[in-house]
């Protein structure tokens, strides 16, 4: 039983990692109908920003988190203005090439600037271990377990209760109608990217203390997060969140009860199974043609 619980904790840890990255990706897909293949790389940039903000442990953790989220939000806004705005009205092929190209440029620029040796930015919480029965866990993981859902709830409230949030939802439902009633899609696109990148920054600040920062860290995560977005129902934020946790737990259980070699097979198998049973994804709506 302890082993099952331990694997569940491992799965929730992995799920939190995927969820924090997937939410920002799902937001952009939902609002702008664009897949940002550079999203995982924004997560990586956030990692370096957090590493710098920590100043080798001199800056308090909370301050470094706020600085990372704020810095990434600004960067996301600038990214939208510099790149996305120019391709937003183009075909999906142009958008795909543009975001992939940005991904390659960002990764190589960081390899050039930082090299490939991973940087560590641990916090005191990452090195403090808690005993919960037979399960041992770093306190930093509990921070992730708490902050990830809280961030999601705050984000949901923002979408439901603020004028900008409602405008984002409206754009995702009917862009043309929004233009008629005076919603500025360019402003909304900028805000969407700022929030998406800010969430990637939050993910980095929470996760990097347990792992490391290196220029290639975002590549694999982009695919895992994209799997969660697809499984959740393209652009459905709640769906992406749930799917990310399902993927994380499926991977951990596969590694625990079969073999770690089967972890990816099982998690992507779960995705295929969900899509076979619900082609529109967990939270997607059926669309007739």
């Amino acid at each position: 039983m302890d082993f099952v619980l331990e694997q569940l904790v491992n799965g929730l840890t992995l799920g939190s990692l995927y969820a924090l990255v997937a939410i920002g990706l799902a937001l952009v897909v939902g609002v702008l109908r664009l897949i940002n293949f550079a999203h995982g790389d924004l997560f990586m940039v956030g990692g370096y920003l957090f590493f710098l903000a920590r100043l080798g442990g001199e800056t308090p953790y909370g301050v470094a988190v706020v600085a990372t989220v704020a810095g990434m939000a600004l960067l996301g806004y600038a990214f939208e203005r510099a790149v996305i705005e120019r391709v937003l009205d183009k075909t999906w092929r142009v958008q795909l090439v543009a975001t992939l190209a940005i991904s390659i440029i960002i990764v190589n620029a960081f390899i050039y600037m930082w090299g490939l040796n991973p940087k560590m930015a641990p916090t005191p919480l990452a090195g403090r271990f808690l005993e919960l029965g037979m399960i041992r866990i770093a306190a930093q993981r509990l921070v992730i377990f708490v902050v990830a859902p809280v961030a999601f709830m705050a984000f949901s409230m923002f979408l439901q209760r603020t004028r900008t949030g409602r405008a984002m939802r409206a754009i995702s439902q009917n862009r043309e109608a929004c233009l008629v009633v005076g919603v500025d899609p360019h402003r909304i696109a900028g805000v969407t990217f700022a929030i998406s990148a800010g969430l990637a920054g939050l993910a980095s600040a929470l996760i990097v203390p347990l792992y490391s920062v290196q220029p290639l860290m975002g590549t694999l995560l982009t695919f895992k997060a994209l799997a969660a977005v697809i499984m959740g129902g393209f652009g459905q934020i709640k769906g992406a969140l749930l799917a990310a946790y399902v993927l994380g737990v499926a991977e951990a259980m596969a590694a625990g009860f079969l073999s770690s070699s089967y972890a990816d097979l099982v998690s992507f198998g779960v995705m295929v199974l969900v899509l076979l049973l619900r082609p529109q994804g967990l939270f997607g709506r059926k669309v007739g043609i």
Partner: protein, 392 residues
């Protein structure tokens, strides 16, 4: 725009003249130049390896050229990325041989890329000197009557496992969990250690593989914790190991840690410098130990700052071996791909940090194997083993 068949034929003729006509990839003579191709992983999960190799080859070439070249020939470098993948391993050597027109290839670090490239170098007719690939199949497939263009100066996991598995058993280990990267390097090593441990009566409780650059090892380590082996032998590279040991302590594992890869390396020590105790007690069998070549340390520091990586050091020695072969070829009067290949079979000299370099009929040299331990943020040699051909 339509391109006429005449234009295509003319273009083809020009290409044949430019590339096909260049029969000799290097020019001999008083001021000759020899181009060395380096096929390694500049991107992908093991990109840190390629970065080190690029730096190592630069340091070696600059130093050799500063001293007047190899037998009077200036060495220059060309690079190709194989991303640690077999298919890209083929593309990389084709690019080096056909486009860059190199005289000889150094590479690759990744066993999968090396194995995939071997039929291609044989087809093209260009020698490849491998410096860190440890899959035993390379030994089986190299040499006269097999692939006479393939050479390797690092010992492989079959050779190392025969000594290292016994060493681990002699430390009192009766049960062991194996975990390794899910590629030709990791799987090849796991196979060898399974075989050797079985022969030595050591019970293998777990065989776990993970993707290169995987972010989380907790599920895998939880399994190992449940099955409670005496020790873990991890076939792993430094960046992954730096994360893995943190999660090992987080889960409260007590198993003794043994490694194969580059855990006892400057890059691992750099990655755990926030808490050097994380590495304490890890024992590793490998090809090179940091701090054993002050001359390389000095050259590296001057050129790049910092300390050499394990793969960078091996690439540095690889260029020295190629330079030795070029000297022999120059003495014999011609520098072609074939003469360099023939010269490699006659190389016989000693590099103090790694031992004697002389290739046998499998084109395998038996340089040293080192067993060292990470302790207080340093790497301490426990024993240096003179290797030999694998015993059946």
């Amino acid at each position: 725009m339509r391109i006429s068949s005449v234009t295509v034929a003319a273009l083809g003729a020009v290409l044949v003249l430019v590339f096909g006509g260049a029969a000799g990839p290097a020019q001999s003579g008083p001021s000759c130049t020899v181009k060395i191709g380096v096929a390694t992983d500049f991107t992908g999960g093991a990109a840190l390896v390629g970065e080190g190799q690029r730096k190592g080859t630069f340091v070696a070439v600059e130093e050799i050229n500063r001293k007047g070249g190899a037998g009077g020939c200036r060495l220059i470098l060309a690079f190709a990325d194989n991303r640690s993948l077999p298919q890209d391993g083929v593309n990389a050597v084709r690019k080096l041989a056909d486009v860059d027109q190199v005289a000889v290839i150094l590479g690759s670090a990744a066993s999968g890329s090396t194995l995939a490239a071997m039929p291609v170098i044989k087809e093209i007719g260009v020698a490849q000197l491998t410096e860190t690939s440890t899959n035993p199949s390379i030994f089986d497939q190299s040499g006269p009557g097999r692939n006479e263009w393939q050479f390797r100066f690092n010992v492989d996991d079959r050779i190392m496992a025969q000594t290292y598995a016994r060493y681990i058993r002699d430390q009192g280990v009766r049960t062991v969990a194996l975990m390794g990267i899910d590629n030709d390097f990791g799987r090849g090593a796991i196979q060898q250690y399974q075989l050797n441990f079985r022969n030595l009566g050591v019970n293998v409780t777990n065989v776990e593989t993970f993707a290169l650059g995987a972010p989380d090892y907790r599920p895998l380590l939880s399994r190992i914790k449940r099955d409670n082996a005496d020790a873990i032998l991890m076939i792993i590279l430094a960046p992954d190991a730096a994360i893995m040991v943190r999660q090992y302590y987080e889960l409260g594992l007590k198993q003794r840690l043994f490694a194969r890869g580059n855990v006892g390396s400057n890059e691992f020590l750099e990655a755990i410098k926030d808490n050097p105790k994380l590495g304490d007690g890890i024992v590793e069998a490998t090809l090179w130990t940091p701090g054993t070549d002050p001359e390389l340390d000095k050259l590296w520091e001057r050129r790049w700052g910092g300390k050499p990586t394990t793969h960078g050091a091996m690439a540095f020695y690889g260029v020295q071996i190629i330079a030795e072969a070029v000297k022999i070829a120059v003495k014999e009067g011609s520098i072609t791909r074939k003469s360099i290949r023939d010269a490699l079979t006659r190389v016989d000299f000693t590099i103090p940090a790694i031992g004697r370099v002389k290739f046998d009929d499998h084109h395998q040299a038996y340089t040293n194997m080192v067993i060292h331990e990470v302790k207080d943020g340093k790497v301490v040699i426990r024993t240096k083993v003179q290797t030999g051909p694998p015993t059946p």
